[in-house]
Symmetry: C2
Subunit: 576 residues, 2 copies
């Protein structure tokens, strides 16, 4: 803080003001999505945002209500209480407190790395599924039906729409109008802005004011034409004015136990979301995020949300981007934003009363459409097919079972694929390329090989899941190459051996002994050498430990030179 | 069979006869351990052994009743019925049939590789735990108490022995005498044999006749002194003479479902046991086992055991070793052995009536003591500490929870450790050794490095669990090396990249772009190159793809030569 400069403050002031006016409609919309009263969204943007600004290691990340956490709250809490009820608010507070505590536990036990198990396909599958669930859940609001939030919005879709309900045509019209307006503003607002200031950039922060404009416009329309009274249009209604009050989450052991798995999942997802946004922004300005510090800061933010009537918070992608592009330099912009929200809570709440749910639904739908990632699936299918399967399984699991089950299925499947892949390692017979000192696969390069020497590169660590497979492959090569006298295993890709792998190596060594073939190793890395020195393998090794494959082959060649028979010429393959 | 020679038959005849007289006391003892009538053990040695001899791919493996399968049967079936009852026999038949079907399913779905998940520490932990459970379960028989078999023998130990029972001193005496006699025969019988034939080897097959001698001796003692009537000593009693009858396992859906997990585990353990013994013997004579064929043969053996009143069978370590050392050449030795058992079943069953349980218990205890492996744990602790933890967890799980839970815990823990280890990869900054073309870690070797170029070798596949970690480490290196112009990543140990790893690489590339550092790759393997060509990574790569690190460093050095500043001299570490 001592280094805080006046010029920074000017930047932070602008960014903070823009952030404030963007946050208010978003916060109300996400509270609505979560099944909470509108003020819960505003409360969640206040103390949690300030605590993160103080403790967080990112200078640009804006923490507060986000769509995905809102969806997870709705899915979890609606199993235990009716949305928009007091019980519902209490259960949300428990969820929030548990998520914060879970993040702190991860920090204390140094288990933060567990989030790395959420692979990219799991996260993109989850985000796409969440987007679909959110959009479906907003259909009711846009068509003017009562806001029922159930465990799975598809059940709503089926039960509500098959009963041919009386749609509120005014709500549908207002919803579609809001969608259209938002689409125009999101894509073309820089053209509008250029009418006033010709040199404005396409990514100018003011282009993010679409939701605010739509909210103000829809509120005015409802107010002027009294749509709420005359057409039974549902609106935000009464918001108690004033700052959040301190309240303690209910202490109900069975409820706490029932919520714990969901809380843990909310905590993990929030952490992954925040961390990935934060580190993306940090990278842009060549600074780094401290993962431990992030756990503490995000934990504190969630715990404070629990005691101030908010709901689980995370780093917001849209608001953090706005903060960055509006030129926010330090967390002071978050403090300015908090001021704007305080002012809104103290004096502006009556203005929100006429804000229609249909417009909020439109804001939510447009904001989640921005995170849908279909091209990711296509890339996964092209690059590593199994990642696409993980994506699809996670997606289906989240849509049709639950967020937790879907993510868990995705994680287990990706671990399963990883173990399965490493249990079928690539094993290449290598030979010298021309007269160079490079040794490459006989399948891809024109290389020199010998009948009496086989050089084999194993492209995987030796461990329990692949030990049998590797032994079988080596035995096949040995059986195939009659009259072989030396087997050289190139260890360049082996970084680790477990005891099952070691046993296998020793068995191979024994087998070769009985066949009078010598086993040699080359390019053994330091850490693997340390391991081997801790076993009696080196005593039983019949051959030599060579520093390089080049050296090994030269010396072995000298030894067998008189027997040198023939040279394979194999077609040059692609790749290097 | 066409190639079967007369000399082979002579060898097979001898081996088969020795095998037969060894099998009979073992089969009765293991049936007793499983909670089954004595003939079940003999039946299990008959048709299953013959079927394996026909279908199996090992010429030396002897399939039949084994101690570990017996223990697993006792643990599973005693939950559903009283040992030695008819219901118990029926449930055992279901277990047996399911195990066989499961093995065939593994073959049909080509999922046989799943047994590779049973790592060496899991198996040794399980075997040690099973040995302990078996020994404890035999205490009752040795002390002359009623043979109650419960889910966990420790519960017996506690409930029976704390009630200060009336121990049968004759049983204890006979049990201890049998133990002592077995110990002497197992360790010193070659000295006895040398009295008759001085040049006999210490490993001669006749040295395995200890159990037979003890069984005959104990039977005679009981018969001569009428110990069963006068001292209430429990003996094997009546065995129905004649061959096994065909019987169909009961069809009870709920029972079938309840037994399925145990059956699957018995099938897996039996397969692993058989396969590892079979491949050890095959290796000794330089032949190979066909894993698919083994699944079919072992499946057939188990299914036949179900229909002929036997119980789950597997390859027997002790009897296969005897077959090997007695000079058995082909599966004909198993057929001879079957003849011996047929003769015993037809005419010798009255002789077994006086065989005391105490002597059988002694035979079981001594045979399982032979498989206990404590040094394995010590080696695991030394070579790879986490394998020792897996061993201990499996051991405790099997002893205190159940065989299935223990093995499952061990497998999950070993997968967990594997993922955890690969998520914290070894990353080395490498440099040129002298003027050679070898590049090694700066931490272990005296190498040449440059301020403007960093060469980094990542010793692990790039995938979701380590992508973040690797990115953080790379960012640290970048931040640490001020003024760097080139980053070379040596891909020699990378055999595979998933989409999370690819995203990370592309982020690193972007970060480096903003810092005006070029990213180069070297020693990219064929399969990885194929992957990268399927993505747009190569288009975004700012630097060059070099064939070798040597070439990369030479060319980069030329480029920066005027700026060449200093050369690190780092102490020569151990290892290569």
């Amino acid at each position: 803080m001592r280094f805080y400069r006046r010029s920074d403050f000017n930047h932070d002031l602008t960014a903070g003001l823009v952030l404030g006016v963007i946050t208010i409609p978003q916060a109300i919309a996400y509270a609505f999505l979560a099944g909470l009263p509108p003020q819960a969204g505003l409360y969640a943007s206040l103390v949690p945002m300030l605590l993160y600004a103080i403790f967080g290691s990112s200078r640009k990340l804006v923490v507060g209500p986000v769509a995905i956490a809102a969806l997870m709250v709705a899915a979890t809490v609606s199993e235990h209480a009716r949305p928009f009820s007091d019980d519902y608010l209490g259960i949300t507070a428990i969820l929030c407190l548990q998520a914060g505590i879970f993040l702190w536990i991860l920090r204390l036990t140094k288990m933060g790395g567990v989030v790395n198990l959420l692979s990219h396909p799991v996260i993109s599958g989850f985000v796409n599924a969440a987007a679909l669930l959110i959009i479906v859940s907003q259909l009711n609001a846009i068509t003017g039906l009562s806001q029922s939030i159930s465990v799975n919005p598809f059940i709503d879709l089926y039960s509500v729409y098959l009963q041919r309900p009386d749609w509120n045509l005014v709500a549908i019209f207002l919803g579609l109008l809001s969608l259209a307006l938002l689409w125009v503003l999101n894509n073309y607002s820089h053209f509008l802005l250029r009418l006033f200031k010709p040199d404005i950039a396409a990514q100018h922060p003011l282009t993010n004011l679409g939701p605010l404009v739509v909210a103000v416009f829809a509120t005015l329309v409802v107010f002027v034409f009294s749509l709420d009274a005359r057409w039974e249009l549902t609106t935000v209604g009464f918001i108690p004015e004033g700052l959040p009050k301190f309240n303690i989450p209910p202490a109900d052991i069975s409820l706490w136990l029932a919520l714990a798995p969901s809380s843990a999942m909310i905590a993990l997802v929030s952490y992954v979301e925040s961390y990935s946004i934060g580190s993306t922004l940090a990278t842009r300005e060549n600074t780094r995020l401290n993962p431990h510090q992030e756990l503490i800061a995000l934990g504190a933010a969630n715990i404070s949300a629990a005691f101030t009537g908010g709901y689980p918070v995370a780093g917001s992608f849209s608001r953090s981007s706005v903060n960055y592009s509006a030129g926010g330099k330090t967390p002071v912009s978050s403090i300015i934003c908090a001021f704007v929200i305080v002012i809104a809570l103290l004096w502006l709440t009556p203005l929100f009363a006429y804000l229609p749910h249909a417009a909020l639904a439109a804001i939510i739908v447009v904001s989640v459409l921005g995170v849908v990632d279909i091209s990711g699936l296509r890339n996964q299918m092209k690059f590593y097919r199994h990642d696409a399967y993980v994506h699809i399984v996670t997606f289906l699991g989240v849509v049709f079972i639950s967020v937790e089950s879907g993510i868990l299925m995705g994680v287990l499947l990706s671990i399963g694929f990883f173990v399965r892949r490493s249990s079928r390692p690539h094993i290449a017979i290598v030979g010298r390329i021309g007269s160079s000192n490079h040794f490459r696969s006989t399948k891809r390069h024109q290389v020199e090989t010998f009948d009496l020497i086989a050089a084999i590169r194993i492209d995987e660590n030796l461990y329990f899941a692949n030990a049998n497979q590797i032994e079988n492959r080596l035995n096949k090569i040995i059986a195939h190459k009659k009259g072989m006298r030396h087997l050289l295993i190139v260890f360049s890709s082996i970084s680790f051996i477990d005891t099952t792998g070691l046993e296998m190596l020793m068995r191979v060594c024994q087998t070769l002994d009985t066949l009078n073939i010598k086993l040699h190793l080359s390019e053994v890395k330091g850490p693997v050498m340390d391991q081997l020195e801790n076993s009696n393998f080196l005593d039983t090794l019949s051959g030599t430990l060579y520093f390089s494959t080049d050296q090994a082959m030269s010396e072995l060649q000298k030894e067998i030179d008189p027997f040198r028979v023939k040279q394979h010429e194999i077609d040059l393959g692609q790749g290097s």
